[in-house]
Symmetry: C2
Subunit: 103 residues, 2 copies
């Protein structure tokens, strides 16, 4: 349970940065190398590697060496747990809103 | 856009803490005072107030004074944007996984 919580902590922390969210969106359309990810941000490879490492530590992105490039891709189903949790909360909040003052 | 990004940053940051996620889950079953939220964690009111403030700054929780207590509740639809975004990513990741090596 503590391990699960730590993974969720890392996932939310990783997504609390707009550059990392943009990287994740880019990977949503397919795998990309570190340099392909860095280029549109005008970012150094070192800077992008750090962001990718945070996403990797959070088990949201996986990387593999392909020739001289390091290719990055989204981990399938990685977002399923937290998105289901958030949707459930939203349904509860809507029910609470609708029943306010009824009881 | 920058304003929207900052709000999303704050939402993910707020949810990157297990105590704050537990508070949000508790509020999923209905409004609660700061002391009702603090009690199960054996936490001081001051400590819980800080967590609630972070959730309030992220527009996930709203509070109001009721008599001598400060009541907290979830903001309806607050999680909708980020949960939709995460679901979409997950669908993309699954498509990428299924089509790997097909092209």
């Amino acid at each position: 349970m503590v391990q699960y919580q730590a993974t969720v902590d890392r996932a939310f922390h990783a997504l609390a940065d707009p550059t990392r969210r943009a990287v994740v969106e880019r990977l949503g359309i397919g795998a990309a190398s570190i340099s392909e990810l860095a280029e549109p941000f005008g970012m150094s490879l070192t800077g992008m590697k750090k962001h990718v490492r945070v996403l990797e530590d959070a088990s949201l992105v996986t990387t593999s060496k392909v020739g001289r490039a390091r290719m990055c891709m989204l981990v399938p189903y990685a977002f399923e747990g937290i998105s289901t949790w958030l949707q459930r909360l939203d349904r509860f909040a809507q029910v609470v809103e609708r029943t306010k003052g009824v009881a």
